[in-house]
């Protein structure tokens, strides 16, 4: 089952869980992702091999999608 995880002040929060054949779960995850993107979070899909991809829509096949805050040079 895939998870949408927001990295926040609590350590992290699981916002949604879905699988590609679960329509309601997928819609809920998609809505949660869009809501967080509008709040300024950025989404990254993480793969088991350690690679990651910046995404703007919910990748249904991804295992983990993280929501992170923007970074900047200090």
């Amino acid at each position: 089952m895939s998870q949408l995880i927001r990295m926040d002040r609590t350590g992290h929060t699981v916002l949604a869980r879905w699988s590609p054949d679960d329509l309601a779960g997928t819609e809920a995850a998609r809505a949660a992702l869009q809501a967080e993107l509008e709040r300024g979070y950025l989404a990254v899909a993480s793969e088991p091999d350690g690679s990651a991809t910046a995404v703007r829509d919910l990748p249904l096949e991804a295992e983990l999608v993280f929501l992170r805050r923007p970074i900047a040079g200090g």
Binding site: M7, G50, S51, A54, R56, F66, R68, R69
Partner: protein
């Protein structure tokens, strides 16, 4: 937001690149150029002091004392640059309201993100070592070190998450995910604060960062 993201030059590029649109996207040749410029800059700082130190006693032996000071400056100035670079590995001050469970939870997530080999190091030092295209990275809560291939040279980058309330391990996880998503974009967004020999940087690092640097050096030499 979407239109700005659509303007990004490379598919999958970090969205933060739009905040530094005047910078050219970093690539291997840009990193090498930065290394050369830092070396030239160090030589330019040192040579006048070394010449002064060598010539003054020849003019008058009493000026040897000035030579000692010139040598001291020749040693101190590059050391100050290295210390500035090492500053990116300094952990941010713990905020009074930050909860320990949040830190532990964030550290657990970070441990899941890094590979099996890096997990123990991560738990012990709070730093993540990640192999990349440009070398091996040590990622901390307020910056990253890039150990270049061969392991002899290091670049220090100051880069952070714009949320002071996040747990330290969460900051590392933020930077690690950004690095994995777009290594060149990460190096472009971050500010280069030092480039030089690993042996010059190492004495200025705290023991956990030294340990992570050694691990990254091995990865960069592999």
């Amino acid at each position: 937001m979407d239109s700005a993201l659509g303007d990004l030059p490379v598919s999958g590029a970090l969205p933060e690149l739009r905040n530094v649109h005047w910078r050219r996207r970093v690539d291997e040749s840009a990193l090498r150029r930065a290394d050369r410029l830092w070396t030239l800059s160090t030589v330019a700082h040192e040579v006048p002091f070394l010449i002064t130190a060598a010539v003054l006693p020849l003019l008058a032996p009493v000026l040897a004392i000035v030579s000692v000071f010139a040598l001291l400056f020749a040693w101190v100035i590059p050391a100050l640059y290295a210390a500035r670079g090492a500053g990116v590995m300094r952990p941010p001050r713990r905020r009074p309201g930050m909860s320990l469970p949040a830190e532990e939870r964030a550290l657990g997530l970070l441990g899941d993100l890094v590979g099996h080999d890096a997990r123990e190091l991560c738990a012990r030092t709070g730093l993540a070592v990640e192999r990349g295209r440009f070398g091996a990275w040590v990622v901390g809560p307020a910056g990253a070190l890039l150990v270049r291939p061969g392991g002899r040279r290091v670049q220090c980058y100051c880069v952070r998450v714009a949320d002071a309330e996040l747990p330290s391990a969460d900051r590392v996880a933020h930077l690690l995910l950004a690095l994995r998503a777009d290594e060149a974009g990460f190096a472009t967004v971050a500010n280069l604060t030092f480039s030089g020999a690993r042996r010059r940087l190492r004495p200025h690092l705290a023991p956990p960062a030294r340990e992570a640097l050694s691990r990254a050096r091995r990865a960069a030499r592999a």
